[in-house]
């Protein structure tokens, strides 16, 4: 075939010039493949690996960045009541938001899946709108609705005789507000991923289950969920990482307040590192969840690989 012919020509060329190793090296498939992926490697190296390594290096320096202090920044952070609260809040925020996004996304995907194809596109487009609007912008819209003094949501509540809610002024309401906005923004991503997964489940499996007399719950439990397991794992993992790293929603909506009770790692890292002029400690804050998330990612991806091998 074409490749064999190319190989053949290359072999002839190699035979003609046995001494030119540089040319041989350049013509190797692996060399060409490496050269073609080099731009991507450079981008990942420059924009991911280097900043990550530099952040790790920064987190080991003192405030003035003049001396190496090892893991002292992490120890100081763990001694801080505020930071311990940030850990708790970040976990609460990420886990609650991801669960809600997954559940709502799954429910929406099911609803959409059962709409006839003709009308589905329209609904799909509308439901994706929150995900395509830049989050800083949409959060500003939410902020206007929650705004301490002139909240439009409170206005509506008052119309129905319900007292105003201090959405951003009271710690628990502020946490709930942040989660609401994150779920509103992120649920469409789950929806579209789950919808794609649902469409790939063979119809015959449902037919077979129906013949066996399976109820709709059993069809969901024993057909749909096992078939979607990989996509659920990947979306949950991806969303967990992104939600842990969320910055803009907290920053725009509450700025971490009241009393730091809505800070998450990213917003607190920015406050400590950039705004307060303690870059090494800010780097330590931002790296804090890295080992845990890396371990979770390793196990989730390993599980997916194993299932893929079993299925193959």
């Amino acid at each position: 075939m074409a490749l064999d012919a190319t190989e053949g020509r290359l072999a002839v060329a190699r035979a003609r010039k046995p001494g030119n190793t540089l040319q041989r090296f350049a013509r190797r498939r692996s060399t060409i493949a490496f050269l073609m992926t080099l731009p991507l490697i450079a981008v990942i190296g420059g924009l991911v690996a280097w900043p990550a390594l530099y952040a790790m290096y920064l987190s080991t320096l003192n405030r003035r960045m003049t001396a190496f202090i090892g893991l002292e920044n992490f120890r100081i952070l763990l001694d801080s009541e505020t930071f311990r609260m940030v850990i708790w809040q970040s976990c609460f925020f990420a886990i609650t938001a991801v669960l809600l996004k997954a559940l709502i996304g799954f429910w929406l995907a099911h609803m959409l899946h059962h709409i006839p194809t003709k009308g589905q596109r329209k609904w799909r487009g509308m439901l994706l709108v929150p995900w395509v609007i830049p989050p800083a912008l949409s959060t500003l819209g939410w902020w206007w609705m929650f705004e301490p003094s002139y909240s439009s949501i409170n206005f509506l509540l008052n119309v129905f005789g319900v007292p105003s809610v201090p959405w951003l002024g009271e710690p628990w309401w502020a946490r709930i507000s942040v989660i609401i906005v994150n779920v509103w923004y992120g649920a469409p991503f789950f929806m579209i991923m789950y919808l794609a997964a649902l469409k790939s489940v063979p119809e015959q499996l449902y037919e077979a289950a129906a013949i066996d007399g399976a109820t709709s719950w059993q069809r969901l439990r024993f057909v749909t969920l096992p078939m979607m397991r990989n996509i659920i794992s990947i979306t949950v993992l991806f969303s967990l990482i992104v939600t842990f790293a969320n910055y803009d929603i907290v920053r725009v909506l509450t700025n971490g307040g009241p009393r730091d009770l809505t800070h998450v790692f990213a917003s607190y890292a920015f406050q400590v590192g950039v705004l307060s002029g303690n870059i090494p400690r800010g780097a330590a804050v931002s790296l804090f969840m890295f080992p845990l998330l890396a371990v979770i990612a390793y196990f989730v991806l390993r599980g997916i690989n194993q299932r893929n091998k079993e299925e193959a």
Partner: protein, 452 residues
């Protein structure tokens, strides 16, 4: 034209000809600017506020044959602070950069000393206010020039009709638009303020005092603490919380005051107090005249009932919340001498007055001798409403920034993390006792000091 007409040789020849012609015909005019000074200044809130610096840059450029490039960088999203951080890390960027109050301390080692510039300015205009000096001077050297553009005081902007009606205080008689205090000015204390806050709260016009984590909150609470002599650290950064009676006294006061504020002040940002005043819902806020200026445009019936007066006095005196901008010169910059000349030029009285006039009286020069610009007398309605916006001698007030006199590297952390409003919130909102809240404060400060 066919491809054959344009050979490689012809194209190269033509290109070389164009370059040569361009180079040879460039006029070697004597006096053509050879230096380009790159400056990044704070993007002014007041729409026309950048105009003064543009005008001054043009004048300076023409006189000194220098290209002065101005970039106005917003603080929205902390872009200016991020620019400073990035330039400090990469050791490249602008020659002159606007620095927020605490950035000077953070980058002191990378800022060119400007003692010569400040020496000449002080000789001409007298000493700048103590807060400006505290912020811009590090390890005995001036590391930045206190700026006029963007610098603000935060006195009380009062709805005089509501204050008269509900609290029985005639603020215009107390602080008239003249260089004298009214007969009742000495009663303008935090105790009077508390009674007025209660009265206005009962009448449905609570004072709009933010207690969140933004600068308006931290600044006014900082001035309140200082007027009680309540400092949380000493000059070396050692916590001074244990056994600190003034601190307990001011905490008790602040908690009592917070009961008469809107219940969501803990989440207010820097615009919330402005909105409270402009909407006609609040009888008093602490703010520069930007809130009044917006009211003049959007709610003239509110603006014409506003009057700016100094902050109340406490047991240790009257302190005025002050938030300055400063201009620093990077030590790694290429045009340090020209940069110094430019900063000196824009710090002259005429230049400062131009900046203040262009910003409708918003900008405050750092020198006390410049607190008599005409614009503060003539702005209105009502005419004289911002007469008491600059710190005038008869106010007997001292400009103050929260958490001074702590060392800059510690004070900046305490300021940005709003420890003073949070400690009050822990009691008023969180249900802690004052002792519990102060213990938390001490632990936070101790942690901030570690890893130096």
């Amino acid at each position: 034209m066919s491809n054959k007409d344009l050979s490689r040789r012809t194209a190269l020849g033509a290109g070389a000809g164009v370059i040569a012609a361009g180079t040879l015909t460039s006029p070697a005019v004597f006096g053509q600017p050879t230096t380009t000074l790159r400056c990044a200044f704070w993007d002014h809130w007041v729409p026309a506020g950048n105009g003064a610096l543009r005008q001054l840059a043009q004048q300076f450029g023409e006189r000194n044959r220098v290209n002065v490039n101005l970039d106005f960088i917003t603080t929205v999203g902390n872009q200016l602070q991020l620019t400073a951080a990035a330039q400090s890390q990469s050791r490249s960027g602008h020659d002159i950069l606007s620095l927020s109050p605490w950035d000077i301390g953070a980058y002191a080692d990378q800022l060119e000393p400007v003692d010569d510039v400040m020496g000449r300015l002080i000789a001409k205009y007298g000493p700048p206010n103590p807060a400006a000096e505290f912020l811009a001077k590090h390890r005995g050297a001036w590391r930045a020039v206190p700026a006029t553009s963007g610098t603000q005081n935060k006195p009380a902007c009062v709805r005089f009709d509501l204050m008269q009606q509900h609290a029985g205080i005639d603020v215009r008689a107390m602080w008239p638009a003249e260089n004298r205090a009214g007969p009742t000015a000495n009663t303008w204390t935090w105790d009077t303020f508390l009674r007025a806050a209660e009265a206005c709260h009962r009448a449905g016009f609570p004072f709009g005092l933010p207690m969140g984590q933004f600068t308006d909150s931290v600044d006014w609470v900082g001035a309140l603490f200082e007027s009680y002599g309540a400092r949380v650290t000493d000059e070396r950064g050692n916590p001074t919380i244990r056994g600190n009676q003034p601190l307990r006294q001011v905490m008790d006061y602040a908690v009592r005051l917070s009961r008469f504020l809107p219940n969501d002040v803990w989440a207010w940002d820097d615009a919330a107090n402005n909105r409270a005043l402009i909407s006609g819902r609040s009888a008093l806020i602490f703010n520069p005249p930007s809130a009044w200026a917006v009211a003049k445009r959007d709610a003239p019936q509110v603006a014409e009932r506003c009057w700016t007066i100094p902050m109340p006095a406490g047991p240790r005196g009257r302190f005025l919340a002050y938030l300055p901008w400063n201009s620093g010169i990077w030590s790694f910059g290429r045009n340090k001498n020209v940069a110094k000349q430019f900063l000196e030029f824009i710090s002259q009285r005429e230049a400062a007055e131009l900046a203040t006039n262009t910003s409708n009286g918003y900008d405050i020069p750092p020198f006390a001798t410049m607190s008599d610009f005409k614009i503060w007398e003539t702005e209105g309605p009502p005419v004289g409403t911002v007469f008491n916006y600059p710190n005038r001698p008869h106010h007997q007030a001292t400009a103050h920034i929260a958490f001074s006199p702590a060392p800059a590297e510690l004070a900046s952390q305490m300021y940005i993390q709003a420890l003073n409003t949070k400690v009050i919130a822990r009691v008023a909102q969180g249900g802690d006792t004052i002792e519990q809240a102060l213990s938390w404060l001490e632990r936070e400060i101790t942690n901030m000091r570690r890893g130096g």
